[in-house]
């Protein structure tokens, strides 16, 4: 399996009044294509910051300080390696949504309340695959069934021919300013809406024709999350990042959404990166898992390995502290609490809570090491 994203020594800091929060501490990670990768950890351990750094949407006062993120893009059948952190903002905008897209935690906050669902879904089509859609409209215009009057038709033909080469060409920008000619893109928008209906329909939303005309407040939580997924999937991304996509939903709706993601993965998307704090979700949907603690990645392994044979003491403790179907008696507890990342502990950041602390742990930071079976662990106590 080839790598899809390679992250090396990624460092992200937040410059707050209290000091520098070292949210990501030299993280190195490789996500393979075709897999569902789960990222687990408690809140504040840097899961979201990691994926936001990949997408380069870290909010101020956060700054990506160093490292590299290599993205293997398949363009016209060729493999291309892009270094995401060195791209310009304009180039990054082209990648967001079309190559890597993201589902956010709160569907209420991710959707604009004053724009219709259809507009919000088709926005992504209009931004990324305008040329492709222009070509499609042009094809329709050429067909004999079309009965627009001759003058208007020849104008449209010209406009869409230009548009199919470059959607931001000068003539089109001029048309956009002239009152009568302004509506040249009506058919383009209709095409985008048609595609939106198609994709919303694929996500098992009932009555997609009515849904595109409605507004976010008309829909329930589960439906909204489906629409957010539809926006993310619109342009067939290589990688879909789901940032706590189901944690605000009810269990029955969560089950629907997870089922949907599994189904979509088989058909449309190559890889999913799932961020969650729910180990049950990880066990049911992921193939490979990374466990994070206080800005460090402490263990990466296949899902069976993590659950059957966890090696890092934090992973073990985390697995034991979750109530399960089979739990009897008291829950195991991790003593202490998550450290403040303004002054993180020296050495391994888990050492103050770790039962296996050695002298070495207090001074040096352990690296992620391969321990066989594609199992990477960052701990001195593991041989």
């Amino acid at each position: 399996m080839s790598a899809l994203i390679e992250i090396k020594d990624l460092v992200t800091n937040f410059y707050t009044y209290e000091g520098v929060v070292k949210a990501l501490n030299k993280i190195s990670l490789e996500v393979e294509s075709g897999l569902t990768f789960g990222l687990v950890g408690e809140s504040g351990c840097g899961k979201s910051v990691l994926v936001r750094s990949i997408m380069r949407i870290v909010q101020s006062p956060g700054v990506i300080e160093g490292g590299e993120v290599k993205f293997h893009m398949k363009k016209n059948g060729k493999d291309e390696v892009i270094e995401l952190l060195s791209l310009s903002e304009e180039e990054m905008r082209q990648i967001r949504g079309s190559e890597i897209s993201m589902i956010f935690q709160e569907p209420n906050a991710a959707l604009n309340p004053i724009l219709s669902i259809g507009y919000q879904v088709s926005e992504s089509f209009l931004f990324h695959i305008s040329e492709q859609m222009c070509a499609k409209v042009l094809e329709d215009l050429e067909s004999p069934r079309d009965n627009t009057n001759f003058i208007w038709k020849s104008f449209l033909r010209y406009a869409y021919r230009v548009g199919s080469k470059d959607a931001k060409a000068l003539p089109l920008r001029i048309f956009n300013k002239i009152p009568i000619l302004k509506c040249w893109d009506k058919r383009l928008k209709e095409e985008a809406t048609r595609r939106s209906i198609e994709i919303i329909d694929k996500l098992h939303v009932p009555h997609p024709e009515q849904v595109v005309k409605s507004y976010p407040h008309n829909l329930s939580g589960g439906m909204k999350q489906r629409i957010v997924i539809a926006i993310a999937l619109a342009c067939n991304p290589e990688l879909l990042i789901a940032d706590e996509a189901t944690s605000n939903l009810d269990v029955t709706v969560q089950a629907q959404i997870l089922e949907l993601l599994n189904e979509l993965k088989k058909e449309y998307i190559s890889s999913i990166m799932l961020i969650t704090h729910d180990l049950g979700v990880v066990a049911e949907t992921c193939e490979r898992v990374g466990v994070m603690y206080a800005g460090n990645l402490c263990e990466v392994a296949d899902v069976r390995e993590i659950f059957k044979n966890p090696k890092h003491p934090y992973t073990k403790a985390l697995l034991n502290s979750v109530p399960r179907f089979s739990t009897e008696g008291r829950l195991a507890v991790i003593d202490g609490f998550v450290p403040n990342l303004v002054n993180p502990p020296s050495g391994c950041r888990f050492h103050p809570r770790c039962p296996l602390t050695m002298e070495q742990c207090k001074q040096n930071v352990p690296d992620l090491k391969e321990t066989g079976d594609r199992h990477l662990v960052a701990c001195y106590a593991v041989d």
């Binding site: 408690e42 009932p206 269990v251 629907q256 049950g280 179907f325 739990t327 829950l331």
Partner: protein, 348 residues
């Protein structure tokens, strides 16, 4: 077992005002006839999806919300050992305080950050409920507060701090300390761990379990997380859209549920056990709006086994033996139907 609280046909409607004269045009039927007995010394788990009225039930019992109709009978233990049954729905706050019930009913809220006044010191926060029920000198009060802090695993050094200086788990401990300050008989725990991380959640759950054994309190544990409820409670009531659809002892509910909604809820829990992958009952659609709930059985639009009777006649909560009760017309057939249609087996 002795009863502590009986809910009899409890109804809570939130009015929606409209029109020029701001008259009531409609009502959110948050609770629609709840019958529930809470036994002494038990931890009753109340589960359901969001918007089904779990929190409203809890708040109605501690009288944070005035119930529209129905009875809440509280069995108050008097000093001479006899018990007195009192309906607290028509009582005013003053009467509640006078009869000594106010201090016996307490609540822990979901989000510890918003449930504490950020401008009060910890010692004042915890002393506030004690002040309501008895007059203590400041020294006695301080030693009492210290004792309470020790019971929840915090120390003297925390007395003169503000809530923002604590982590989420510690704040929830403070909220628990505040709730047990007046030696209550009954505490409503409204999703006390849903704002916490898993490792901290385990600490709080263990603390609550220990406290219950030490102080002999009764809990109403409101949550949407079935595994948490399985860990802590002795009996579970499942709610759907303002109605209780099933009550059972914890072990029975997980082994032999009767209501199709319970089946769906149980099968929807993401299971952290990698070996046993079981099939799922995926419900279609979402919970309907409580503004105009469906006629007949409220679950019928989403129920895979609905028959004609379900659309017209509302099922009552009926006993099916072994202390288990379910509100479903086809409760006897459901386990078999589920097995045939979904090939569902239990994960434990």
């Amino acid at each position: 077992m002795e009863k502590l609280i009986e809910l009899k046909n409890l109804v809570k409607h939130y009015p929606i005002l409209g029109g020029i004269l701001r008259h009531q045009v409609n009502a959110v039927q948050a609770l629609d006839g709840i019958n529930l007995d809470i036994l002494k010394g038990e931890c009753l788990g109340l589960v359901g999806e969001s918007g089904c009225g779990k929190t409203t039930t809890g708040k109605a019992i501690v009288k944070l919300h005035e119930a529209t109709s129905g009875e809440i009978n509280f069995h108050l233990k008097k000093k001479d050992g006899s018990t007195e049954v009192k309906d607290i729905v028509p009582m005013s706050n003053r009467m509640l305080k006078k009869s000594g019930i106010r201090g016996k009913l307490q609540m822990v809220f979901q989000d510890p950050t918003t449930s504490m006044n950020p401008r009060m010191l910890i010692k004042n926060i915890i002393a506030e409920p004690i002040n309501e029920v008895e007059n203590l000198k400041s020294r006695e009060m301080e030693s009492r507060v210290k004792k309470l802090l020790n019971t929840v695993g915090l120390g003297e050094q925390h007395l003169l701090r503000y809530p923002h200086e604590f982590s989420g788990g510690q704040r929830q401990r403070l909220a628990v300390a505040r709730a047990i300050a007046t030696n209550p008989d009954f505490i409503v725990l409204d999703e006390p761990t849903s704002a916490l991380d898993v490792s901290v959640q385990a600490q709080i759950l263990n603390l609550l379990k220990d406290l219950q054994q030490q102080l002999g309190m009764t809990y109403l544990f409101v949550t949407h997380h079935l595994l948490v409820v399985k860990y802590i409670s002795t009996r579970i009531a499942v709610m759907y859209l303002g109605k209780i659809v099933e009550t059972a002892k914890t072990a029975d509910l997980f082994k032999t549920p009767f209501h199709p909604y319970t089946f769906a809820l149980l099968s929807a829990i993401p299971n952290a056990n990698i070996d046993k992958k079981s099939s799922r009952i995926i419900l279609e659609g979402d919970v309907p709006s409580p503004l105009n709930p469906p006629k007949g059985c409220r679950f019928h639009p989403r129920c895979p086994f609905a028959i004609e009777q379900c659309r017209t006649v509302e099922p009552q909560l009926e006993d099916v033996g072994n202390g288990q009760a379910a509100a479903c017309h086809r409760k006897e057939d459901v386990p078999k139907l589920v097995k045939d249609k979904f090939n569902f087996y239990f994960k434990n």
